[in-house]
C-alpha cells in the first residue's frame, strides 16, 4: 500500500507546472522589488522562493512541505511583527555554546536535520518523507537549472 502510494506520487501527472509557475512568479516578485536590495538578500529570497514553491506544489500531504510552509510563515510573521512593533527594545541574544558534533553521529539524525520537519519523526516515516523530498528537490533543481540556462544562454 505504501509503495503504491509512493509510486503514485512519483507518477503524479504534472507536479512540475505548479512548481514552475510558483517559482517563476516568486522570481518575478523578487526581481521587481529586489533591485534595491543587496545581492545576498536577493539570493536568500530566491532560495526561499524555491523552497516555498516546492512546498506549495507538494501540498499539505507531506510532512516536509508542511514544515517548510510553517517555517516560512513563521518567518513572515516575525518580520511583520518586527515591522509593526517599532520601538520595542530588542532582546539580547545570548550566544549559545556551539553544539558538540557527535563524532559517530547517527546518520538518521543527520538526515533528520536535512529533511525539513524531520526532527522527532519516526524513522520509517522519515525515510518516506526523505524519498518525497528528494523527488521534489530534484525537480526543483532541474527547473532552476533550466531557468539559469535560458537566462545565460539566450
Amino acid at each position: 500500500m505504501e509503495s503504491k502510494s509512493l509510486s503514485r506520487d512519483c507518477n503524479n501527472p504534472n507536479p512540475d507546472p505548479k512548481m514552475a509557475f510558483h517559482f517563476l512568479r516568486a522570481l518575478l516578485h523578487i526581481q521587481q522589488s529586489a533591485a534595491t536590495t543587496s545581492f545576498t538578500g536577493r539570493r536568500r529570497r530566491i532560495k526561499r522562493a524555491a523552497y516555498a514553491s516546492m512546498a506549495y506544489s507538494s501540498g499539505a500531504r507531506r510532512a516536509w512541505s508542511r514544515a517548510l510552509i510553517h517555517t516560512l510563515r513563521r518567518r513572515r510573521q516575525r518580520q511583520q511583527r518586527a515591522r509593526t512593533a517599532v520601538a520595542l527594545p530588542r532582546r539580547i541574544r545570548v550566544a549559545r555554546p556551539p553544539r558538540r558534533e557527535v563524532a559517530a553521529a547517527d546518520q538518521a539524525q543527520v538526515l533528520r536535520k536535512l529533511v525539513p520537519g524531520g526532527t522527532g519523526m519516526e524513522y520509517c516515516m522519515l525515510l518516506e518523507e526523505t524519498a518525497d523530498y528528494i523527488r521534489c528537490l530534484a525537480t526543483q533543481v532541474q527547473l532552476m537549472r533550466n531557468v539559469v540556462d535560458s537566462v545565460t544562454n539566450s
Binding site: 500500500m1 505504501e2 509503495s3 509512493l6 504534472n14 512540475d16 507546472p17 505548479k18 514552475a20 509557475f21 510558483h22 517563476l24 512568479r25 522570481l27 518575478l28 516578485h29 523578487i30 526581481q31 521587481q32 529586489a34 533591485a35 545581492f39 536577493r42 539570493r43 536568500r44 529570497r45 530566491i46 532560495k47 524555491a50 523552497y51 506549495y56 546518520q107 538518521a108 543527520v110 538526515l111 536535512l114 529533511v115 520509517c124 525515510l127 518516506e128 526523505t130 524519498a131 523530498y133 528528494i134 528537490l137 530534484a138 525537480t139 526543483q140 533543481v141 532541474q142 527547473l143 532552476m144 537549472r145 533550466n146 531557468v147 539559469v148 535560458s150 537566462v151 545565460t152 539566450s154
Partner: protein
C-alpha cells in the same frame, strides 16, 4: 503435482474456525509434540483421505518435513523438484490476492518463498471467508527439524500480517518490530531507486550515507542556482522594464501575446486584458505555428522533464513582443497547460491560485475563460 490436488480438496473444514480457536489448538498441538506421522493423521480427520499421498510424498522427499495435519491446513508442499515451480507460483498468486484485501503486507513474501524452495519448505495456506491468509513456515534445516513450529500472529489487527519463522519470537513487540523492519527495508529499496548510484551500495549505513550526500548536494545546488539567478536578476529587471513600454503597441499589431513571467507589477493589472484581446483575435489557437517567429523576449521552453517553463529572456533586444521558441518540440497539451497557468497569473495577480490552477489545466477550461 500431487500436492495440488491435496490442496484443492482440503480446505473445506476450516471456514468456521475462528483464528483464536485455531491458535489455541495449535499451541496445544505444539505442546503435545508428538513426532509420529500416524498420530497427526489421526488427530486430523480431514486429511485421512490423503494419507496415502502424504506417505508417498514423505518417502519421496526429505524425511524432515512432514505434515502437521491441522484442520486449517490448506496446502502442504514438499520441495519435490518438479513441484518447485508451482511453489513459487503459488506464493506470488497469494500475495497478489492478498494485496487487495490487506492494508500492509510484508513485502518479502514472494522472495522468501523463492528462497525457501531449496530448503525444506512447508507452506500452509488457509482460506477464510473474507481474507485469505498465507502462512509459511520453515521446516528447519537442522537434523532435528521435525519439530516444525508454527507461529501465527496474534490477531490484534486485521491488516498486518506477520509470519514468524521457526525460532523467532512471537510476542507482540517483536512482531511489531519485525513489521517495522520490513517497512524500513521497503522504503530503503524505494530510496535506492531514487538516489542515483545508490543501487550498487549494499548495507544500510552506506545507503544512508549516500542518501544524505545526495540531499545535501541537492540543497547545495539550490543554493548555488539561486545565487546565479540573483546575479542575473537586475539585468533582467531593466530589460523587463524597457520592453513593457512598447508591449501594448506590438500586441495591437501582432495580436499574440503570452503574459510573461517577467512582467513588472504595474503590468500585472493590464495583463489580463491584453491577453484577453489577443486570444480573442485568434480563437483557434490550437496550432502552434502562429506563435512562432516573433521576436523573442520570452523564451518558452520545454524542460527536460517535459514541462513548459516560461523564461524571461534578458539579452534579446528586439524587445517588445513575446514569443514562444522551440515550438516543434511542443505538444499542444503542454502548451495549453501553460496557458492555463499563465492565464491565471494574469487574472489574479495577488492571490496564490493554487486551487484554481488545477482546474485550468485543461484546454476546455481555457477556452471557457476566453
Amino acid at each position: 503435482m500431487m500436492m495440488q490436488c491435496v490442496e484443492t480438496t482440503t480446505p473445506l473444514s476450516d471456514h468456521d474456525l475462528s483464528v483464536l480457536e485455531r491458535q489455541r489448538a495449535r499451541m496445544g498441538w505444539l505442546q503435545s509434540a508428538a513426532y509420529d506421522h500416524g498420530d497427526y493423521c489421526s488427530v486430523q480427520p480431514s486429511f485421512h483421505g490423503c494419507d496415502g499421498h502424504r506417505k508417498n510424498e514423505t518417502a519421496h522427499g526429505s524425511l524432515h518435513c512432514f505434515s502437521n495435519g491441522w484442520p486449517d491446513l490448506g496446502t502442504i508442499q514438499y520441495p519435490v523438484p518438479g513441484a518447485a515451480a508451482t511453489v513459487i507460483e503459488e506464493t506470488t498468486s497469494v500475495t497478489v490476492s492478498n494485496s487487495s484485501s490487506r492494508k500492509r503486507k510484508p513485502p518479502e513474501k514472494s522472495k522468501q518463498g523463492k528462497g525457501r524452495v531449496d530448503s525444506n519448505c512447508k507452506r500452509i495456506k488457509e482460506e477464510t471467508g473474507a481474507t485469505s491468509e498465507s502462512k509459511q513456515e520453515n521446516n528447519g534445516k537442522e537434523a532435528s527439524g521435525d519439530t516444525s513450529k508454527e507461529n501465527d500472529k496474534p490477531p490484534k489487527t486485521d491488516y498486518i500480517h506477520v509470519r514468524a519463522r521457526r525460532g523467532q519470537a512471537t510476542d507482540s513487540h517483536s512482531l511489531a518490530e519485525r513489521v517495522r523492519r520490513e517497512r524500513i527495508s521497503q522504503r530503503m529499496k524505494y530510496l535506492q531507486d531514487l538516489v542515483p548510484g545508490c543501487s550498487k551500495i549494499t548495507g544500510k549505513a552506506g545507503m544512508l550515507d549516500e542518501i544524505i550526500n545526495y540531499v545535501q548536494s541537492l540543497q547545495r545546488q539550490v543554493e548555488f542556482l539561486s545565487m546565479k539567478l540573483a546575479a542575473v536578476n537586475p539585468m533582467m529587471d531593466i530589460n523587463v522594464e524597457s520592453f513593457f513600454g512598447k508591449d501594448q503597441v506590438n500586441q495591437a499589431c501582432k495580436s499574440v501575446s503570452i503574459p510573461t513571467t517577467g512582467i513588472s507589477s504595474e503590468m500585472l493589472d493590464q495583463q489580463p486584458y491584453l491577453q484577453f484581446n489577443s486570444l480573442q483575435a485568434h480563437p483557434a489557437c490550437s496550432g502552434l505555428d502562429m506563435f512562432m517567429d516573433y521576436s523573442s523576449d520570452l523564451v518558452l521552453r520545454q524542460t527536460a522533464s517535459g514541462e513548459p517553463v516560461a523564461l524571461p529572456d534578458t539579452t534579446s533586444l528586439s524587445g517588445s513582443c513575446l514569443n514562444i521558441n522551440g515550438s516543434t518540440v511542443w505538444n499542444t497539451s503542454n502548451l495549453q497547460n501553460f496557458y492555463g497557468v499563465e492565464f491565471q497569473l494574469g487574472r489574479e495577480s495577488t492571490a496564490f491560485p493554487f486551487q484554481s490552477l488545477q482546474g485550468n489545466v485543461l484546454p476546455n477550461n481555457l477556452k471557457m475563460e476566453m
